[in-house]
């Protein structure tokens, strides 16, 4: 276990009696990229502002390298932020914007020059050093904001939805650049975002937040493949949710459940008893249609009510003949059968890949 750079313990914050962050606990180790993910209003930005020092916690501690910084003003914290609006200084050139933090700390001129030059190179801004922010494109401004923060070599870099102002294509490019820069500099980073694909592709760990509390912490794979609750399952990616009932709990840890009238035994260890209501969760890409279904799996009949060609995949919406349930499926084109397709109204059978399902207890 690496040493924790940032340790947040029992942190709480409320505004006007409204609790925004509740008993938050998190340990982040050196070089880690952690994403706070959640819908707007889940407290992720407040948490970031607490770490940066713009807001003061009501209770709890924030430790940076064994030092409690909960009451340290932002200018005294070795933490730098990339703001959603970038907040570049309009009256300074790119160079002066980036050098601002170093000038404030009275860094030696020679060191200042070499560090700014170095960061300019890493962010490919060398040729723009003497431009003003208004003369830059959105992506270039974003890079200046990044450079201005990392040049100070912060212990923790905070990113407040840094890519949200860019268009989709540029965002993809910047994601790659951002990750490269973070890895090269080995800066401990906390990203706040509501974009799940940003969180999945950039993070070492994701903290899914719900109303100021942690819904789940895990690697992107864990969050996506093994959501711990319905909130996380629904928030990350698309998911099909089928009601089921526990028929039998076997000694070996296996469960037999009844899904839409059909029994299936699966190897899942959740704490439940016979008769409990559970949810069977399936990602669109977990589903198999007609010919692809494994022989051991139960089959549900339905019909295609919508098909969407997506280039690499063919997405379909299937309405089951019974139970008034629609499922989203997503199939990859493969080399053997590049022309496969469905017509609307076509009768199909649907099931899923054994073992890819997620079983969650009913929370209501």
């Amino acid at each position: 276990m690496k040493k924790g750079v940032l340790t947040i313990t029992d942190l709480s914050k409320s505004f006007d009696g409204l609790s925004v962050v509740k008993n938050f606990n998190l340990v982040i180790s050196q070089g880690e990229f952690v994403t706070l993910l959640g819908p707007s209003g889940c407290g992720k930005t407040t948490l970031l502002r607490l770490i940066a020092g713009f807001d003061k916690p009501d209770s709890g501690t924030i430790m940076l390298d064994d030092k409690d910084i909960g009451c340290t003003p932002p200018e005294k914290r070795q933490v730098n932020t990339v703001f959603q609006s970038y907040a570049l200084f309009p009256h300074m050139t790119v160079f002066d914007n980036i050098a601002f933090g170093l000038k404030i700390t009275k860094t030696k001129k020679s060191e200042l020059l070499s560090r700014v030059q170095n960061v300019l190179k890493q962010t490919q801004l060398e040729s723009l050093a003497h431009r003003f922010p208004s003369q830059l494109s959105g992506g270039q401004q974003q890079r200046v904001a990044m450079a201005r923060a990392v040049v100070n070599r912060p212990r923790v870099l905070l990113l407040d939805e840094p890519l949200s102002a860019l268009d989709a294509r540029l965002r993809q490019e910047m994601q790659i650049e951002l990750k490269k820069l973070q890895r090269n500099l080995n800066i401990t980073t906390i990203l706040v975002t509501h974009e799940q694909d940003e969180a999945l592709s950039l993070s070492d760990r994701i903290v899914v937040m719900n109303q100021g509390a942690i819904a789940q912490i895990g690697t992107p794979r864990e969050i996506y493949e093994e959501p711990k609750n319905l909130y996380v399952a629904r928030f990350i990616g698309e998911i099909n949710q089928l009601p089921a009932r526990v028929e039998e709990v076997n000694n070996s840890g296996n469960l037999t459940i009844n899904v839409l009238g059909k029994n299936i035994t699966i190897a899942k260890e959740i704490d439940c008893a016979k008769g409990d209501r559970v949810h069977l969760l399936l990602r669109p890409e977990d589903l198999r249609i007609s010919g692809d279904i494994d022989e051991a799996m139960p089959r549900f009949s339905g019909s295609i009510i919508d098909r969407r060609y997506r280039g690499a995949t063919l997405d379909t919406t299937i309405r089951l003949d019974t139970h008034d349930i629609t499922l989203q499926a997503c199939e990859f084109f493969d080399e053997d059968d590049p022309d496969f397709d469905y017509s609307i109204g076509e009768k199909v059978e649907v099931s899923w890949v054994p073992g890819w399902e997620v079983l969650l207890k009913d929370e209501t």
Partner: protein, 283 residues
């Protein structure tokens, strides 16, 4: 806009400017080059006598004193207004409007009457002295009246809104997130003020300063009422030459000199503004 209607508007504007701006200025300029006459307002011959008199040391003294007082007034107005406007611009919209209305209400009263009000407040038996004596802060009344201090107090009181409003118009647009960004990068309050707030609000500061400085040079009645004739300003001289000693050419020459001085300040301001703008607009 159709070209024809545009021409109409430009013609109308040109007409208006010529009649109310250009013509009086031209008359003033012509008068300043006329000869002086002890009994008539002027003599109809070309003369540089008035301009030569301007260089007279007693007049230069008054000009310098006027500039000094205007500079002091402007600086004090700025120092008083800046923090006030900074806080006002951070308020919510409702409170902001209340504060701005409170600033503007005195505007609706004639400035001459307000100058008399200042007399009542700072006079030897005035409100201020009575209050300070009552509180035991002073033993004998302060003699503020008929001094440069009194003139400056009066000028500040009259000119404060002219500083506050241009500053407000500028500071309202100031992006407070830049302050957070600077703080995040390690800047304390002084650094934030010097490196971020000051340069970005410079147009408002210069604009407000000109709005205060220019009229202050000409506000003769404040100097008469509060300075008691001892503290003549350029405005008083012009006033005297036109209305008392009836020396129109000298008054006109003084006015022309004053106008030229203020005009060059405005030009400098426009130049600075344009330089700042060219940075902010893509080039």
């Amino acid at each position: 806009m159709k070209p024809s209607s545009r021409i109409t508007i430009i013609t109308l504007l040109g007409f208006w400017l010529t009649i109310f701006g250009g013509l009086p200025l031209l008359l003033l300029l012509v008068t300043s080059f006329l000869g002086q006459h002890p009994e008539k307002f002027f003599e109809l011959n070309f003369s540089l006598e008035s301009y030569r008199q301007l260089l007279d040391s007693s007049y230069l003294d008054i000009l310098l004193r006027s500039i000094k007082q205007a500079v002091i007034t402007t600086l004090l107005c700025l120092v008083i207004s800046y923090p006030f406007v900074w806080l006002t611009a951070r308020m919510n919209k409702r409170n902001r409007n209340i504060v701005l209305i409170l600033v503007m209400i005195p505007f609706w009263t004639n400035s001459l009457i307000r100058t008399y009000a200042v007399r009542i407040i700072i006079g030897t038996n005035g409100l201020l002295n009575k209050m300070l004596l009552g509180l035991g802060l002073i033993d004998s009344p302060l003699r503020l009246m008929y001094s440069e201090t009194a003139v400056v107090i009066g000028l500040i009181y009259l000119m404060l809104p002219f500083m506050i409003l241009p500053l407000y118009a500028n500071l309202e647009k100031f992006d407070y997130r830049l302050v957070e960004a600077a703080r995040d990068l390690g800047a304390g309050n002084t650094q934030i003020f010097l490196r971020i707030a000051l340069p970005l609000t410079l147009p408002g500061i210069i604009g407000g300063s000109i709005m205060v400085f220019v009229p202050t040079m000409g506000l003769f009645y404040v100097a008469s009422l509060l300075g008691g004739g001892k503290n003549l300003l350029v405005g008083n001289l012009i006033h005297q030459n036109f209305l008392v000693s009836q020396n129109w050419p000298l008054g006109a020459a003084m006015s022309t000199a004053l106008i030229l001085m203020l005009l060059s300040m405005l030009l400098a301001y426009t130049f600075i503004l344009r330089k700042m703008k060219s940075r902010e607009v893509a080039g």
